[in-house]
Symmetry: C2
Amino acid sequence: MPHTYKYPRAALTVDCVVFGLDDEDLKVLLIERGGEPFVGSWALPGGFVEIDETLEAAAQRELTEETSLGKVFLEQLYTFGQVDRDPRERVVTVAYFALVNIRDHRVRAATDARGVGWFAVANPPKLAFDHATILKTAHQRLKGKVRYQPIGFELLPPKFTLRQLQHLYETILERTLDKRNFRRKVLAMGFVEETNEMQQDVAHRAAKLFRFNEKKYRRLSKSGYLFEL
Amino acid sequence: MPHTYKYPRAALTVDCVVFGLDDEDLKVLLIERGGEPFVGSWALPGGFVEIDETLEAAAQRELTEETSLGKVFLEQLYTFGQVDRDPRERVVTVAYFALVNIRDHRVRAATDARGVGWFAVANPPKLAFDHATILKTAHQRLKGKVRYQPIGFELLPPKFTLRQLQHLYETILERTLDKRNFRRKVLAMGFVEETNEMQQDVAHRAAKLFRFNEKKYRRLSKSGYLFEL
DNA sequence: CCAAAAGTGTTTCACGTACACCCATGC
DNA sequence: GCATGGGTGTACGTGAAACACTTTTGG
């Protein structure tokens, strides 16, 4: 069924920059394109926005369809509207960035994605469209944001050691942090709580596991507290 | 000439939240709509994105067309995609926010704007569409951004007194600041330079005029300096 | 001479930063 | 017993915040 308009219209898509963290690096989730254009290239998961769904719903849907990822932390990043960013026709894309805990989510290619994989953000493959620009923008945003909002926890399992948390910040901020100062600061915040569980199956002294108490954070936040790291 | 597509497409618009500062308040520039829907209502200036122009170009164009404002500081804010935000059909809008020096720019209604006016941000009239939400988002962004980026200068004339600058921050941040600490801090930054001109025609001791040296700021910024106020 | 705003220093306190050693556990 | 990471306290310096009076100018 065709749809006709008086003036030409740009197509509207969403793209998702999904970050994950493994023991070594900050990673980004990419798909191998199964359709034209750029067949066989790596690209950000994404696709067309349906006429009756919100932008965020479209981002969630595309993510699930192409990578089988479930509900994740998702935030709008920026809208890219260069006139020739898609060789076929004018396409404007609303980019989202997402943070997930890699080990909790098995990814699997589907629909028009031929493959899926995690790639080091510092060293990604050649990307389709202007996705390299989008990735760079997302990475900068993450670096800036992580210092002023407690979103890093999204990259960790629900219970984590302080070492893991520090490693996360060191990886994203690309600098080392002092262990004692880091621990003191994090614990002083009050919303990173000790559980009474310990790390299991490690070949050295087991560390305490901690948990991010989001309710407590919200409460503090409302009464003027400013997160900063 | 009709344009036909296989799937229905959302229309794409841009809207501009233009902030200005007068002696009293933070103001926002609104237009009185001359066309349906919401004829006679106040709204943000904006309109449809042409098929061969970038989003930012569209924002600049609409601003000039509707309010006769020339080139201004413009930055992408957020993209609003609620399904029913426009009663006619699905319209996704990319919102921009702009900062201008009110006294340097005479505004004048044109094209489909019946009127133009500056309104106190704290107390705006009822707005068309979801523009109240967009305005609130822009205001929050401005409040956050002004502390970490030297964008406030866009709201002032090229030469300004430290009192004006302090007043600007007090207005946007909605709190008072200590005069001596403020002056010390601003001058310590190094890129707010004394000119050898003085205020004219004031009924009291004339103040020195200062100037924002953007080049100097960029240089400092690149070598790791972080603006903060 | 009065009103209005310009301009100027010092003290105090909190917080960021730098830094090194002993402890617990698994192999 | 050794390798690996867990866990802890103190001293120092910088920078933020609080605070009040004298000077200049125009009317």
